[in-house]
Symmetry: C2
């Protein structure tokens, strides 16, 4: 790639970004789009609906930028929770790192690279200059100037480690103070106990009761045994759908729509009054629900939520092995009641252990072999194949322009489609692992997606070749530096373009929310559905964080190889900071709170990036005939790992659990609080499966099973 | 090596063993040797001294075998503690494993190997048969008979895993029941807190007091802040030595010995009455001791032993992070007061972390590069060198026989000497790591010595070549199976000889205790010293267990390669079982108790051996042109690792700490025990540094500092 081509690409993408911004600033003012661009404000009733038409609505404005910029971190914390703050800290941290990198890279390393003669290119024809001449490849072999690169690697590592330390410290302090200022939450007082041993003649409820009242007589409060309710959940889902359809029918009130066929998808069967038909169906389902609810009460599972009087007691119960057999009475902190994820809940230790194993294997296979099915499908979508499948397209496909677009664009489209579903697959994998909380699933999926991305975008591009070839390289660790040193700089121009196209555009399209916009438009104008309950989305951390971290990896590894990438990354992070702040304020509402538990992933990813850079540096200096520099770089990854191990000892425990000091401080604060008693009462029923609490829509015979059920179990 | 040579070697070593047994059975009956062969009985006053001479004393007898055989495991447990039982279980477990291995190896694999034609040796000249013809090397390439080896590997792995599971289960149950039947020990109620943050204007003692009485108001009992007493310990050591010399002088009562020179080593200075001289010196030292003791009281270190009212409270405090900063208020279970190891005690988290790092590096360097200094020293001790150093030996060294012995034996002697000091070096390394207990140091040293042994005996012999060459092999994991498959079978005869010579002889010399015998003889007959206080030794687990496990590794890896090794191993384990039982009953007394924490090391080592066998099998089947068998072996190590990971989840937690169930059961048992109050009182002073408790030998002005000191600190 030559410089002018890069500049063209930058220009096009910059144009796209501005187009997105302009469209966004206009469209967001249209009242119909409030649900797309400010669902959070709508849900909170804070969106100002300007219904009367005026010219201002059609003019682009940059007001949203100042509005996104203005709120302080404390406001963001109050508004969106600690996770959102941590998410934004990724941008701030990366911007800090790359500001330093840009200064060193552009003002020191880039001129040195450019003045090299290794690639023997013309020095003065700047626009037609290959981008290669800005990389380390252009520095002469054995040149002493490489020592500047060497020092840059050392200094950069030191700076990044320092920033990582400061950031870890900052976020862990935030986490503790967030906990200290939190209101009493049920999950702070509750633990989840799995693998409760079955004892003959006693129900699980009695076993739990006797166990905890014997061993924690002073602090045990109540428990709630989990019931197998998957069938019930299905029924309730059905009844909800029917109920919504009914409401729609009633509100629409068109006779035309009121009558339809009762059979499959409304296409077959005799014509009936749908209103009546649905109402009857709903009643039948709700009768089933009630029957299932009462039968569910008997179907206990060997797991229970156990609540304690104090946070300290709950925490101490999760830290210690309860039963003599460590595979029984397995305890873990309970998640927030809203955060509980029921579908794959499993009480058995062995079952969870096995599904964990299976998921790990599946995940590794997916990550390593992902490109194989992609390549196969890409092969299938070639023109000839398409002509066979869709003969009527033959004429169209023969047109040169169309065929060019398709052959040029289709493979990348297929890859993008496959990539698009990966986060959902990883979420599925993580949920099969038997986590009890959505937040745990998301965190685990985030790690999976991160490694997937690094492997399938970074390594797949660098070490092009079959997946097995790529795996084999890692079976010969000795050769890794040399192989990477040859392969990585060669991909510099590709990744610069990748940052500009994928990074910039994906971020601005995040602002524009094209898919939601189109979906919303179709719903409103074609289906004419006006749902009262629309869901405010939450940030999909598991797909966003890996993407941001991948750019960090690119920036760190290419810092001394091809510093030209750095300014583009810096722009990306600044853009991302503004846009995601805007989205957090207007679009996304936090569904649950991990208390900043995502930061260790960011930290680990940065450490990995640094070590990857060191390994490449070792290879590059060897390749550039400066073996002394190569050997002198060897201590650097070791020092980085030592630094990381210190951080793990110093900060990681704070992200795993809270200290006795903090727990007891909170407990003491509430000792004399009169509201505690009522809170304790609420605790007893906080962890009921919502399916058991469901009272029905049909109205006439809504029972009060749930409250009854709750009190029956409270026995402190 | 040919069969007849092996048989000769077996014959010689068998003869040696019998010689040792005979000598032992005679010598042990001599009253003068009671301190060598039954120090434990002497210390307990149970040794029957037959002072009148009779013929029976000179006749060998095998009565000790029956006496060693007779006691049940329960008696051994009562007598020598759980660690000794676990130690003996290693022999029982290994004997079980190798009984099965012998049956399969000798009756199935050996005939198949022998009937192979690969090495094209004469089938019928048995005595001159190379031992190679009994190994897998003799099976024809690509022969279908290799499938029998393949099945043997699978079945053997399954059997070993089954036995491992049963044994882990058995020992973990033993551990729990041992705890349940134990008397109250101070260490069960106490934790060690390190890195207590310094607060201005308050002593550490006050800080600890306020912290624990604030956060554990109901259960906190007392604390004892650690003092920097290394100088004091030195002084007390000196005074002890002087005191013993004085006692010797007084008891000897020879005027000849009473007068000597007061200077360096009794060689210089004026002649004085030593009795007076020493007494004065002792008084001066003891005055110093007392001065130091009172000044020590002020020198507090940021660490304290904190005692609680219940075991549960103590355990819960060690499991949870106490302070907000995880590097402060670092807690761990306290060891038994007799087990505390003071010299390298360090309170600072950072200092311990750094010394840990340094030790890990030093340990890896020692393990990997050990053979380099050995080879250098071996080079230095060649004849020419010796002649230069000791010219007067020239004549002697020129005699052919002497020179042969020296050149043949000296290198191996040097290696043995170096190997002999390794356990002590590892103990030193482990103690620098900052463990608080001797038992922890010993356990950690045991692991270090184990890996050292596996590397420097197994791998050094198999992959002969420079240390760097050996390390490099592990940098190319892909080639490991092939390299091992070539190298390991080639060393089969060496290791068979090793089992017979080193295994059998070292075990019987353990019975014979040559060095102690000689030392004792010299002490009694030449130095004429009769110390009243002689120390009963404890089993040096850190040097014994690795040796036993190395033989297990050899047996497992050579099981299908050269089954001829198996019967010799079985004999070794039976011999070892008898001899160590005898030693445990007569010689070794337990100094401290880890509660069977050594078993996980044994388990891990067995799993490692299995996986090594699998890796070699993968290589061998490839080499023998049976690639299908090679590929089908690949799942085996993975399955073994999965099995191991299950065991780690199922059993390992039981070896790390006790469950709430067991802890509270014990606590409840003692709730109404009237002796608890006095026990709690004793707890307060249980963890004083013995140096501070020292009251002095000089008698006239023995102060009672210690008790005073104790009560001053008790504040529950």
């Amino acid at each position: 790639m030559i410089l002018s081509a890069l500049l063209t690409s930058v220009g096009i993408n910059l144009g796209l970004c501005f187009l997105f911004f302009t469209l966004y600033s206009i469209l967001r003012k249209q009242p119909g789009n409030a649900e797309v661009y400010a669902p959070r404000l709508v849900a909170e009733g804070r969106s100002q609906q300007i219904s009367n038409f005026n010219l201002e609505r059609l003019l682009p404005s940059a007001g949203w930028v100042t509005r996104a910029w203005r709120p302080s971190e404390a406001e963001l914390l109050a508004n969106s929770g600690l996770d959102a703050v941590v998410f934004m800290r990724i941008f701030i941290f990366s911007a800090k790192v790359f500001t330093f990198a840009v200064i060193v890279g552009i003002f020191i390393l880039l001129p040195i690279n450019y003045m090299g003669k290794q690639l023997s290119l013309d020095l003065f024809d700047l626009p037609n200059k290959s981008l290669e001449s800005f990389t380390i490849s252009n520095v002469d072999d054995g040149s002493n100037r490489l020592w500047i690169h060497f020092s840059a690697v050392y200094i950069f590592t030191a700076v990044v480690c320092y920033l990582l330390y400061v950031e870890y410290d900052y976020i862990s302090t935030k986490r503790v103070s967030y906990f200290c200022s939190s209101k009493p939450h049920p999950h702070q007082f509750t633990i989840l106990v799995r693998s409760i041993p079955a004892s003959s003649g006693r129900s699980y409820s009695e076993t739990v009761e006797s166990f905890f009242s014997e061993y924690y007589p002073a602090t045990y409060l109540s428990h709630w045994v989990v019931r197998r309710a998957s069938k019930l959940q299905g029924l309730i889902k059905n009844s909800k759908r029917l109920y919504r359809r009914l409401v729609n029918l009633k509100s629409a009130n068109h006779d035309r729509e009121r009558f339809g066929r009762a059979g499959f998808m409304g296409l077959f069967g005799q014509r009936v009054d749908l209103l009546d038909h649905y109402e009857k169906k709903l009643e039948v389902i709700e009768d089933n629900v009630r029957a299932e609810q009462s039968s569910c009460l008997g179907k206990e599972v060997g797991a229970a939520f156990v609540s304690f009087r104090t946070r300290f007691a709950a925490a101490s119960a999760t830290h210690m092995q309860q039963g003599v057999n460590p595979t029984q009475w397995v305890t873990e902190p309970a998640p927030d009641p809203e955060d509980v994820y029921w579908p794959f809940f499993s009480a058995s230790f062995l079952k969870r252990w096995i599904s964990n194993l299976v998921v790990v294997v599946a995940c590794i296979l997916l990550t390593v072999l992902f490109l194989i099915p992609v390549l196969i499908v890409q092969g299938l979508t070639h023109l000839e194949q398409l002509e066979i499948w869709f003969p009527f397209l033959k004429g169209l496909l023969r047109i040169a322009f169309v065929s060019q677009v398709i052959t040029g664009y289709l493979p990348s489209l297929v890859l993008q489609l496959f990539l698009y579903v990966v986060p959902s697959i990883m979420i599925m994998f993580s949920s099969i692992q038997g986590y009890i909380a959505m937040s745990q699933i998301e965190k685990s999926a985030c790690i999976k997606v991160l490694w997937f991305t690094i492997w399938n975008i970074f390594f797949a591009n660098v070490l092009s070749g079959s997946a097995l070839y790529r795996v084999e390289i890692f079976l010969e660790p000795k050769n890794i530096p040399a192989i990477l040193a040859v392969a990585v700089p060669g991909q510099a121009t590709f990744f610069i373009a990748y940052v500009v196209t994928s990074g910039w555009t994906s971020t601005s399209s995040e602002l524009f929310q094209l898919s939601t916009l189109v979906f919303n438009f179709i719903k409103r104008n074609i289906c004419r559905k006006y749902d009262d309950e629309f869901e405010v989305p939450s940030v999909p951390y598991h797909s966003e964080i890996p993407r941001i971290l991948l750019f960090g990896l690119l920036g760190i590894t290419y810092f001394f190889l091809a510093p030209l990438i750095l300014p583009f990354l810096l722009v990306y992070y600044c853009l991302g900071y503004l846009i995601y702040r805007n989205q957090l304020l207007n679009v996304y509402a936090p569904k649950y709170e991990t208390g900043g538990k995502l930061w260790p992933i960011v930290h680990d990813s940065m450490i990995f990036s640094l070590i990857l850079m060191h390994v490449i540096a070792i290879g590059i200096f060897g390749l550039k005939k400066l073996p002394l520099a190569s050997s002198l770089t060897v201590p650097l990854p070791i020092l980085t790992l030592v630094f990381n191990s210190y951080c793990r000892r110093r900060f990681l425990p704070m992200f795993k659990s809270y200290s006795v000091e903090s727990l007891l401080k909170k407990d003491k604060e509430e000792q004399n609080d009169p509201t505690v008693a009522s809170f304790h009462e609420r605790l007893a029923t906080a962890y009921q499966d919502p399916a058991l609490l469901h009272v029905g829509y049909s109205g006439n015979n809504a029972s009060i099973i749930a409250p009854l059920l709750g009190t029956a179990e409270v026995d402190a």
